[in-house]
Homo-oligomer: 417 residues x 2
Amino acid sequence: MPLMTSWVPGANSPDTDFPLNNLPYGVFSTDEMDERCGVAIGDMIFDCARAEEEGLIALSDSPLFDVPFWNEVMEAGPEVWAALRARLVELLGDEANRDAVAPLLVPMAEAVLHMPMLVSEYTDFYAGRHHATNVGTMFRGAENALPPNWLHIPIGYNGRASSVVVSGTDVRRPWGQLKSPDHDLPAFLPCRRFDLELEMGAIVGTASEGPVTVTEANEMIFGYVLLNDWSARDIQAWEYQPLGPFQAKATATTISPWIVTRAALEPFKCDTPEREFELLDHLKDAGPMLYDIDLRVTLAPEGKPATEIAHTNYREMYYSSAQQLAHHTTSGCPMTPGDLLGSGTISGAEKHERGSLLELSWGGKEPLTLDSGETRTFLEDGDTLTLTGAALGDGYRIGFGPCTGKVLPALEDPYAR
Amino acid sequence: MPLMTSWVPGANSPDTDFPLNNLPYGVFSTDEMDERCGVAIGDMIFDCARAEEEGLIALSDSPLFDVPFWNEVMEAGPEVWAALRARLVELLGDEANRDAVAPLLVPMAEAVLHMPMLVSEYTDFYAGRHHATNVGTMFRGAENALPPNWLHIPIGYNGRASSVVVSGTDVRRPWGQLKSPDHDLPAFLPCRRFDLELEMGAIVGTASEGPVTVTEANEMIFGYVLLNDWSARDIQAWEYQPLGPFQAKATATTISPWIVTRAALEPFKCDTPEREFELLDHLKDAGPMLYDIDLRVTLAPEGKPATEIAHTNYREMYYSSAQQLAHHTTSGCPMTPGDLLGSGTISGAEKHERGSLLELSWGGKEPLTLDSGETRTFLEDGDTLTLTGAALGDGYRIGFGPCTGKVLPALEDPYAR
C-alpha cells in the first residue's frame, strides 16, 4: 500500500511515525485542555472530543471521546472502529475538510500524552523462541533450554494491571527479597539486576465468555503498542519457583502512548515461523497474524548520548497475539475490553537482536560497551531506555511513538514515612 | 466478647451467621428492587441504599450504597468504615430505632445475592504449610517438598479478576491442553482432574503506592470472604512450568456473598505458627493477624445428600493476609481498593483437614468414600461443593454465608456456535 496523503503539516514526511495510513489513538492534554482522546497525524493531534462535540464525528448517541481512555470506543465494537477510521481518513485526508478540521488540531509539541486506556487486566507471554532458548540455556543448559510444553502452547502468566504506565514515566529501582548465590539466606535489598524486556502489547477490544478460535481472537484485537516489561532478575530468580514471576515484574510495565490499530498494520501482516510440532487445532495458524515491525532499543546513561543496544523485528515471534488470546480463553476465562497482552520478549537469532540485557550481556558475563565507552550488564541508575518501532512502508512508516523510561535510584529506606 | 443483641428477627439465634456482632456487607436485589448494598442481620438484609436515601445513614456527600458494589465505601476510607459500623450497631441494636428501621429490612429468603464488589485485581497465594508440604511431597518427594523460598516469602501469583464469581454460580468443567503421562504429545480435552481449593479471600480497601509495612497492610484490609479457587490439576501440571498456573486457575474462583469486616473478626485474632526461620524485618509479624475461623467443605453428588469432606481452620496458615499484602507491595506494585488476595489452600495436619481433593485423595490414589457410598478422587459433573466458615463466639457465630458452586459438564464442542 502506498502513502495516503494528508493536508496536515508533517503527515506526508517519510520520517513521521504518523502518516494518514496510521491514525493511532492516544489520550492527551494541554495547558488549556483536560485529558481527552486524540489521533496522531504528522506533527499534530486531532482532538476527537471537540470533533464529536461539533458534530464532525457522530458514531454514537453517548459521547465516546471526552474521556481519558479509549475503552468506550473499544466497547462500541468493530463496526464503530471501522466507521471511525473511515471518517478520520475523510477528515484528515480530504483537503475540502481543511477549514473545518484545522482548528481542531493541536501541535503535538504542546501536548502531554497519558495512558491511552484503562488497563483491565494484564497478561504477559513468553512466546519468542530465541528469547526462551537463550534464557533456558543460561538457566538449564542448551539441551533443556525449551520446557516440554513450549512448542505446544504459548506460555503466559497474569501480570499486574495497576503497574502499567505510559511512556515517559520514571521507573524507580525496586527493593525485593533476593538471595545471592554465595549466601545461605535471603536478604531484602535494592534490585541489582534490573532489566528491560522488549515486547509488543496487544489490546483486547471486545469481550468474550467462552473459548474463542484464533480467527475470532484476531478480530477481538483493537490494536498494538510497544511494551517494556521492566524485570528485576535477581528478585525473579529467588521468587519464581514454583508459581512464576510476581514482584519481579510488578514495579512497572511501560507502554507507548499511541495504540496503532489492526487496520493500520494490515498491509504488514506476516506468517509465524515454521512449526517444529504441528499445533493442536484450537491454536493452529489461521492466516498471517504476526506483523513485520522493525524494533529498536537505545540506552542513554545520565547526561550521555544514546546507544542502540538491540534491533529486531516482531515477526520473530513463534506465536501471534491472536494465538495467545485464543489460548487465554481455552478454560472459559472471560476477556474484557482493555485487557493488555504482552507478546513476550522479542529476540532474533543474532546477538544484536536480543530484546533484554539478560540476553545481551549473557547473564551479566559479557558486558556491553556503549558509545560513551561505559559498559553495561544490567541497568544503572539514571539510564534512559527508549523502545521504538515501526512497520516500514514504501516511503512512509507506521510508527508507535517512543516507549521510554528513566531508571531512578532505589529509595534509601522504602519504609521511611 | 459476648453476643450483642439486636431487635431484628433471627439475629440473636446461636445458629445464625449474622448476629449484630457480624454486620457483613453484600449486594442484593429482589423482584422489586435493583441491585444495591445491604447488610446481613439475622434472617434479614438491611437496605443501606434506602437508609441513605431516607437520611438514616449520612456518611458522605455523594451516595455510597445505591450501587451494586462496596467499592465506594472502601474508597471512602477507614474513618467511614468505622462510622458505618457504629451507626449500624445503633440502628439495628437499639430498640428505639425499630420503627424507623424495620421497613428497610428485606427477608433474606426473598433476595438474590450478587458479587459484593468489583474485583480490581486478583492475587492468589500458596501460604499454607500443610498444603504446600502435601503438594510438594506428591510432586517432588518428601525431602524437597517445600521450595527453598517458601519459609521466607509468601509465594503468590496473579490470577484473573474477570473469573471471580459469587456463590451459587454454576461452574463449567473447562477444556484445556494437557498431556497424559502415557502419551508423548499433548491433546485438547475436557479437564479430568477438576478440584477445589478451600481458601479465605482478603479484600484490599485502601490504595497504596510504595511498599507498606505489615501493620499498614493490615489496616488496608476491608474484610474477608470465603474463596474456592477451582483448579484444573491436569491442565496445571502441563502448563505451569516455568511461569506458573494460568488457564488451570482461570475458569472460575467463587467467593461467598458477604464481606465480613476486619472489625467483626477482631475478637478472633490469633498468631501465625512458630517460624522455622526468622522472617526478614519487612515481613515480621506485628501482632496477631490471622483469625480463628472454623472452615468446612461439603460435597453433594447430583440429587444426593452432602458429605463433609474437609474441616480445618484459617489459623493453620503460615502467613497472614497482612503479610501477603506487605510482600505484594515490596516492588512498589500499586494496590487498589477491590483487590482480592486468596490466602492459599488451607489444610491442617490431619487427613480430614485437607482443603483440596488433590490432597484428600493423595493425587487420586486414595479415593474418598461419600456418605452415599460413591467415591471421589476429583470432582464429577453434577457435584455441588459448599464451603462454610465462621468465627465461633460464646453462643454466637460470625459466619460468611455459604460459598457454593455446582460443576456443569464440559461443553461437547467448545467452539460450536
